[in-house]
Symmetry: D2
Subunit: 300 residues, 4 copies
């Protein structure tokens, strides 16, 4: 086969929120504002159309708009990674080709999950291989058990790591034994990214090269600092910052979800706006709780 793609995934990436306007339509200027602001930090790149980007609530046309707008403001020294996973292989391929056309540097592809009992290792392996075979840009696997209720096995990841166009995995499962097993066995050069700030630091300890962090939307500097401290061998300070960020990270992910993330963005000077229905805006009492958490975390 051809040589492995050599795109480096080292560092910290942010899965961008997709802002909507008062009429519940995609608000390009808000996205541009957010990216411009984040561009000032040392973030290594962005995932556009990830789970935090409410990609499941966007039409195909809207997805293209979002990618196009993002491409215009993401500078060439930061990676633009497009989320193009669909339930079917053909739709995923179609979206992947469009993302490459628009100029994405890589795609990140969540596994199909509707027919769970049939999503065996051979089925998922064939799915990813068909896509990677035709994708003009490198493919990153996206393991997202909170959404798919499937935790991609080390066996599958190891198998796929040998495809020259599959360069890594964003693992939001966060199980250390499996992540370690994966890192130990994958083909050389295959890169593992932590899928949440809640386990970035210990993941780095066992060999992850970086993270794709929702937290980067509101605390990019803290995320980068955790990464820098680890790389500098300063475990004690890295751990302290990691622990301090845990309640903040929980608030914008597992506790209050995308509604919490968008509310936090608004509180911190980003353009969050409201989530799309069925997601509901964060209720007032939870907003106050969120505010307290952001203050305690040193962000407000």
């Amino acid at each position: 086969m051809t040589n492995r793609s050599t795109l480096s995934l080292k560092g910290v990436f942010t899965p961008l929120a997709t802002p909507f306007d008062e009429q519940d339509e995609f608000a390009p200027e808000k996205l541009v504002s957010n990216i411009n602001k984040l561009n000032q930090t040392g973030l290594n790149g962005y995932v556009v159309l990830g789970s935090n980007g409410e990609y499941v609530y966007l039409s195909e046309k809207e997805k293209m708009e979002v990618l196009n707008i993002a491409r215009q403001v993401i500078p060439k020294d930061k990676l633009m990674i497009a989320g193009t996973g669909c339930e079917s292989t053909r739709n995923t391929i179609a979206l992947t080709l469009q993302a490459a056309e628009i100029g994405a540097d890589a795609v990140i592809i969540v596994n199909p999950s509707y027919y769970k009992s049939e999503m065996t290792v051979p089925v998922l392996a064939a799915h990813y291989q068909k896509i990677a075979d035709v994708s003009p840009i490198p493919v990153i696997i996206y393991n997202f058990p909170p959404g798919t209720s499937i935790d991609l096995s080390a066996e599958l990841l190891v198998r796929l790591s040998h495809h020259p166009n599959i360069i890594g995995v964003k693992d939001t499962g966060g199980l250390m034994p499996k992540m370690g097993e994966t890192i130990y066995q994958v083909a050389p050069g295959f890169q593992v990214l932590a899928g949440s700030a809640s386990f970035l630091f210990p993941s780095l300890a066992i060999g992850a090269v970086g993270g794709v962090l929702a937290l980067g939307n509101i605390a990019p500097l803290q995320c980068l600092e955790i990464y820098r401290l680890f790389c500098a061998g300063d475990i004690e300070n890295g751990r302290a910052l990691h622990l301090r960020m845990l309640p903040v990270n929980a608030a914008i992910t597992t506790r209050f979800g995308v509604s919490g993330l968008k509310a936090a963005m608004e509180m911190l000077g980003y353009q969050g706006g409201l989530p799309r229905s069925p997601l509901l805006p964060l209720p007032e009492t939870q907003k106050q709780e969120l505010q307290t958490i952001l203050k305690t975390g040193g962000l407000l």
Copy 2:
């Protein structure tokens, strides 16, 4: 509020498979052939674009094609129920309006499930209410835990049962305590349908009015006979047929999935064709197992 919709869901419904041709494109003539054949039986109606219809693998355009074709061959004395659930409320409403326009008698709507931890009772209640408020045709809730990893609670179903345009639920969870609790508490006239032949018979015993059965694609007469025997009070013969159908039903659902269903259709004179990728065609060894099961079940 207005009066409750009075569409009867009594009896046996079949969630139609969506056949594809050799080029993996929707094959209208195959669908027509299947429906024409099933029309000869006493089936009370069809679900078009259900889980067995691989709706998650169809583009929006294809969905409209399938609905249009189905509408042409489903006679007026059988219900045409369209699957229009999407992750977002707005996409679900759009598809629902289109289905009504095409002439569907009702819609069946699977719950959004990607952001699982946020799919609370209030969130899902608001979602369904917004849709039912604007849908010109009655709404049926679709509870499908094998796909969504969420089992809609009795509390939610009871709450929604009071909406005049929400007329019932297809429950594929199949937990008798919850189904009983639901039946006991819902608003009068709200109808519960068993979501699988694997628990149709006991569901009828506790008050379900019928079923939406994948098995109806290959054994419509047996499904109808189980229903008839129950209604006639012939528990002994009903149970015997129910038990005999269990291995057949498992083969085309939990064991071999849509791939198994389509293979069985081919064996029994229907136009199954192949499933779409990532689903793979049933392997040869499993085909032989399936054949044996169909023979033992008296279908071949």
Copy 3:
């Protein structure tokens, strides 16, 4: 092999609560009082030392006391079934032999579950076979997923059904597809019992021969009436009573647990007493809720 044991498990059985006194010691006179009262009904027998009997909180010495006392007041025309399951095969056998010595008619044995990942079909099959080989009295398998987090498979039950000294299963999992599959495949004469009133009625519809029902501790006549109505073919009235009992049954099992069961017993003239720690007595607010439920159910 020898002939199958022919003990009939048809009908309704009650898993007796174990009452304690003010000093938290086993209170024999309370147990006697309860059994004497229940003896007046048509119950077909009792399980002593079941989950509702808090068997996991009793010392081995206490277990023997409870069995001895129960044996003295359970008449010969009602079955006395002793719960003798332990984690190890040798302890289970020892307890089984003692129960037989005391005069139990059968034993009911919950599967070991501590080393869950190792409790494979061969391991559990060997366990039950070793016990059944030496037990002087028939063995009933006890499937209790709420406690063990293991749902014994139809495959295991079918395999064990061929042992002449294993006569049935109490299934508290309550999944109709699996129960049906089991009933369809087990050796002739092997008897399936519903493990809860929440699914007794539909279980009878698919071939269960009866039930072991916590509800029997407080509503024995209603349990018996549900069973009688089903046997008489009166589905409509049977269903109505089944549905009416659901909230009552939930209150003393899944909702408020043994604490709720014992509180309900006290409210209804039985000797419940308090549960053992770590279980806590039912709080006052929940007691009031329970009282309302009992009234609505027609028991108070």
Copy 4:
């Protein structure tokens, strides 16, 4: 209240296997042999009667024998921690008092789990507090979801951390977000131990003070070296050894269980013997697999 117990749990502890003889009886001389051998290493102590010690398969009398024997050969500079958890509070207290009498330095107590739905935070908090109130020696909480199917919440651990006689937790759940949240919030001095070598290294990174490691039974030096490398700030070599041990650790825990652990002990010069039924001896083919794994891991 009194001051917090100050027993240090820093370092590496081994949960000892309990060896049986040919007649399936406890074999004291084998246990003595193992401990004497392990005493030569720098292990910081032992857990006696833990999950790896098959404590659920021992009678109460056997438990005392094991503790007594262990006490005789565990030197005073290594901790002897006794597993005394039972389902009931009173049995746990009784066993705890006996262990203290025998001279254990601390007890480690698994949470009750049979009545899962009732094991709420208040119930479990009261359970542990009652025990810690009367225990003459410090109490360590034992979180073991693989056996209990309950993952003790950070909320519970934080609450219990304020009891002066509850000094730490062995967490075998291994979820980094929860472990981090716990470490961040517990009372000063409360110590978190990793419950498996599969996540010891990343746990140390976020503030765990050590581990209780089944792997210590067969690879004590490697476990100690992982700990030492981390403390020395040598992340790279620590990670390498951590990753190399993963397949070995999996083989004696999640893959082959206690049967695998005992077989590995035999291969490596320890006195493993056979597990008790229902556990079965490791089959020959798996023994060969295990041998290969031990060789690849550098142990054989």
